[in-house]
């Protein structure tokens, strides 16, 4: 690598090793559970074992009498002081939204709901005493099966009179974005192709590695809340709004946070109970969940039935798609829980030019753990459905799955393209990404091997799966969110502070929990402001330092938060310019800025922006009317989503005698526009891929007929290990996003969205010749074996 003073190496696009790593690889970390404060008390929760029951009595006598137990509190004890868990996205005006009291006093509505909290001097003593709390329950009938619940066979909340929380609908004929889907289907039934399927999105658990933890310190003028959360700003708002405590009296800090994947995008009962107990006792408190509690009560993801009707002409040109979903919300409408299927509504048409489209979701309450965002939130579900259907269509027409996609996808020269769901895709190149993926994968050779194995009736059959995904990310244009009835905007905030030493302090409203913001954002500032990467410090995750922000989810941090940062940097440069002109005794019009320096055009006279920062700090010689600060802030509201896409190809080997599926090869060519840090991007894709593959093959949250979570530990909920997975072949094409100055698109969710259908398509492809056209996820050996042998799927 060569670098000269005149031409510094561009930071953007560089494989910078992460600034975050040093503390994480040496154990000098700041997890919430590490925090210990003087006089701190520990909480243990008493949770309902029943999915639906009336609380007829709670006897806390024995627990209260235990040594070192300070208090045992029930929902009745805390009363209204405990606030409420809010739903920020009522998807329809008349949404049925059960009141969500963090600790109810009358009735529990899922197994795992908290009915009492024990406060003790140590965590072990709190847990011991929690065992002594005696709760009398009168069991009530529980709504467990999603389809039955949708028909109100048993009510999850009898007082509401229905389990249907909302029905949200989109129809392209009504919206004016396309034709009438019923007409398209009727026409296809007469000489064309109609494919009708019902797919299951099993219930998943985000299963971040760091269990949730919260510490609340009520001493002093403010109440400080440390929480393992993705959303410190939203959490502060939600606590304030639901308790009446002023926001300015609440400081929320998300220190090191060990993963989230949407699972820490929540205002939780545990946080609210800790807040209430700390205020009541006037002492700092800590609650850290066990893994079993986490799997049981932290929100779950997915859980939909998808009824799909795809219409096409006889050549496989799609003429319409009709989608009818049932979405299981669990027993409460979580912070954005009702909106998850709605986000998916815009993605069922994927990269294709469907002339007609209709979508409906019925959001249903059940007596199970609430569901909400999990990596991709709505978009993996949609992508799975459409990519599975395209493979079915290819089989029906008798052409290669890539061929059927090419017949239907938006051509490169057709961008920008307004889809049948009403979104404007700004850029993309499906042809280029597909060509590169095929090349990496060795597509034709693997097809030849597949044919050869079929020919000789090999016990182990090879299957190739395709997924040409796109997604909408960078949540989100505030106007769009408003039109969808979401309670907040989608902007992001950044602040750049020019320190007198020449260093730069940056504050972002995004809140990283593994994404590498400190590194990627430093690269952006280093390039734009012309300062060394090492001289930039990124601060985040503390509402007292970052007073404004909307946090991290929906692949938004770089494309929204990064863009806010660009705008804040530009303001610094604008503010520095008149000072530079003054100090250089030149006209503002004669100055140019580059490489961190203002220079007088046509001369070698110049000054670094950092020198100007020092001069502004001293303020001895500023032009009249110029303030003694270069510090600047900016709030950026995106004008559009952005639309990463990619072609993912997966090969699996299926043992037709045992049903065992083995990953053989996975190649992906993603297009996420301009890449800031390729190393971080590859990491995001790798991790996303494995989460998506895990949905296809291994993971499922299972309830038994009593409403008990059977997969309640890592022994039963099968997170993939290193031994289950393979290495990946990755590359990218670059179609810059045209609606942000970085040209960047989001990447946090891409791998997860793309990989699930690629894997299931591969499994089905391996055994399609045996009469199989679907296998319900996860594709366990038993399910695959039964499919081959004609049993239940």
């Amino acid at each position: 690598m060569t670098a000269t003073q005149d031409a510094p190496v561009a930071e953007i696009g560089r494989d910078r090793r992460r600034k975050e790593d040093q503390r994480l690889i040496t154990g000098r970390t700041r997890w919430t559970d590490n925090i210990t404060l003087p006089g701190m008390l520990h909480l243990a929760m008493v949770r309902s074992p029943f999915p639906h029951a009336r609380i007829s009595g709670i006897d806390t006598t024995a627990a209260k009498a235990s040594t070192n137990v300070v208090a045992v509190l029930t929902g009745a004890d805390l009363g209204e002081g405990q606030g409420a868990c809010i739903n920020a996205w009522p998807v329809v005006e008349d949404q049925v939204t059960p009141a969500h009291v963090p600790m109810p006093s009358d009735r529990v509505t899922f197994a795992g709901e908290i009915v009492a909290v024990v406060v003790a001097r140590t965590a072990a003593e709190a847990r011991d005493a929690a065992e002594l709390v005696e709760v009398d329950y009168e069991e009530l009938p529980a709504a467990l099966d999603l389809k039955d619940a949708a028909e109100n066979k048993v009510l999850a909340h009898p007082d509401l009179g229905t389990n249907v929380s909302a029905v949200w609908r989109f129809d392209s004929a009504e919206a004016g974005t396309g034709g009438d889907v019923e007409e398209a289907i009727a026409k296809a039934r007469d000489g064309g192709i109609v494919i009708e399927r019902e797919y299951r999105q099993q219930r998943l658990i985000p299963a971040f590695m760091e269990p949730r933890s919260v510490v609340v310190d009520p001493t002093g003028e403010q109440i400080t809340v440390w929480s393992a959360t993705q959303i410190p700003h939203i959490l502060r708002f939600a606590i304030a709004a639901s308790t009446g405590v002023s926001e300015s009296k609440i400081r929320v800090i998300a220190p090191d946070v060990g993963g989230g994947f949407g699972g820490k995008l929540q205002q939780t009962p545990e946080e609210m109970i800790a807040f209430a107990v700390a205020r009541r006792l006037g002492k700092p408190v800590k609650y850290t969940e066990t893994r079993s509690e986490s799997l049981l009560s932290a929100h779950h993801g997915r859980d939909q039935w998808q009824r799909l009707t795809l219409a096409a002409d006889k050549d496989g040109n799609v003429t319409g798609l009709k989608v009818d979903l049932l979405a299981d919300l669990g027993s409460y409408v979580a912070i954005v829980g009702g909106g998850v299927p709605v986000l998916g509504a815009f993605m069922f048409n994927a990269i294709y030019k469907f002339p007609a489209y209709q979508f409906q979701t019925t959001n249903v309450l059940t007596n199970k753990t609430w569901t909400d965002a999990y990596r991709g939130a709505g978009r993996p579900e949609a992508t799975y459905a459409v990519e599975r259907l395209m493979d079915e269509l290819a089989a029906e027409v008798g052409v290669d799955p890539l061929e059927i996609r090419e017949r239907n996808w938006i051509k490169h020269e057709e961008f920008p393209f307004t889809t049948v769901a009403g979104l404007e895709y700004d850029s993309g190149n499906y042809e280029a990404a597909t060509a590169r993926a095929k090349e990496m994968f060795g597509y034709d050779a693997l097809r030849a091997e597949q044919a050869e194995r079929r020919e000789r009736g090999d016990r182990v059959q090879l299957g190739l799966g395709v997924s040409t995904f796109t997604e909408m990310c960078g949540l989100a244009p505030s106007r769009v969110l408003g039109s969808l009835n979401y309670g907040a905007g989608g902007w992001e905030h950044a602040e750049v502070r020019m320190l007198p030493t020449g260093k730069v302090e940056v504050v972002t409203g995004a809140s990283a929990h593994g994404q590498g913001h400190e590194t990627a954002f430093s690269q952006i500032v280093a390039d734009r402001l012309g300062v060394p990467f090492e001289d930039v410090e990124i601060l985040h995750g503390d509402t007292q330092i970052s007073h404004k922000g909307l946090d991290t989810y929906g692949s938004r941090s770089l494309v929204v938060g990064g863009e806010a940062l660009v705008k804040a940097v530009d303001k610094v440069i604008e503010k520095a310019k008149p000072v530079a002109a003054h100090l250089l005794e030149a006209s503002v019009d004669d100055l140019e800025f580059g490489g961190g320096r203002f220079t007088v055009k046509g001369t070698d006279q110049g000054m670094a922006v950092t020198e100007i920062a020092t001069a502004v700090f001293a303020a001895h010689n500023l032009p009249d009317g110029v303030e003694a600060s270069l510090d600047s802030e900016a709030t950026y509201d995106p004008v559009n989503f952005n639309y990463p896409h990619g072609t993912h190809l997966c090969a699996v080997e299926v043992d037709t005698e045992t049903g065992q599926v083995k990953m053989r090869k996975y190649a992906a060519c993603d297009d996420i526009g301009q890449i800031i840090n390729p190393l971080i991007v590859a990491g995001q894709v790798h991790g996303g891929l494995v989460q998506g593959i895990a949905q296809a093959l291994w993971e499922e949250a299972v309830y038994d007929e009593n409403g008990t979570l059977v997969s309640g530990s890592f022994v039963d909920y099968l997170l993939p290990t290193a031994a289950d997975t393979i290495s990946f072949d990755l590359d990218h094409t670059t179609s810059p996003c045209t609606t942000n100055s970085l040209g960047a698109k989001g990447v946090g969710e891409a791998g997860t969205i793309a990989s699930t259908p690629a894997v299931v398509n591969a499994v089905v492809d391996a055994i399609r010749h045996l009469g199989v056209n679907d296998i319900q996820m996860p594709c366990t050996p038993e399910r695959v074996w039964r499919a081959i042998n004609g049993g239940a799927k």
């Binding site: 993963g259 079993s292 290193a722």
Partner: protein
């Protein structure tokens, strides 16, 4: 209460503890060794992995009293006294083998033990050797690369593969 004497990260320590106290609780709550973390309650995730007399153990699965008289090394004691990182720590940084970093202490301690037993492991051997440690962020791809790179460094060979996007890694 039971008296235990042991050496942790080079420091001799002694405490009276409840016999039921787990080694990981002792490390975190008594010694402030919060670099070692707890990720589950079924000894499934390996986040709490430390070395007990030179071999990796899940410290949530060992009682503190069992460590009486032993030498324990945690992630905080792995680097040299002057701060020079262990080659495995360095390789995790170099290969982007961590994201949120919660599994990292356990993953690194397990990898060090793995390389002690097998200084030149194949990809498959690395994957099998890390089977008891869960990571939710990285998909293991770069963790495997990191361990192989560290193996190269420790055997004195030139640097192993690094992993960037755009680069095709097979």
């Amino acid at each position: 209460m039971t008296r235990i004497n042991l050496t942790v990260d080079g420091q001799r320590v002694a405490d009276d503890i409840e016999p039921r106290m787990l080694l990981v609780q002792y490390l975190r709550e008594r010694l402030g060794k919060t670099g070692t973390v707890v990720g589950c309650d079924t000894s499934s995730c390996g986040a709490c992995t430390v070395h007990l007399d030179g071999a990796s153990v899940k410290s949530c699965n060992v009682l503190a009293v069992q460590a009486d008289g032993a030498t324990v090394t945690t992630i905080e004691g792995l680097a040299a006294e002057d701060g020079t990182l262990h080659p495995v720590q360095e390789a995790f940084h170099e290969c982007h083998g961590l994201q949120c970093g919660f599994c990292t202490p356990g993953m690194i301690m397990q990898a060090v033990d793995l390389l002690k037993q097998n200084p030149d492991p194949s990809e498959e051997a690395v994957r099998l050797g890390l089977e008891g440690n869960l990571c939710r962020c990285t998909g293991y791809h770069n963790i495997v690369r990191a361990v192989q790179r560290a193996a190269g460094e420790m055997s004195g060979a030139s640097t192993g593969p690094t992993t960037g996007a755009g680069e095709v890694v097979s």
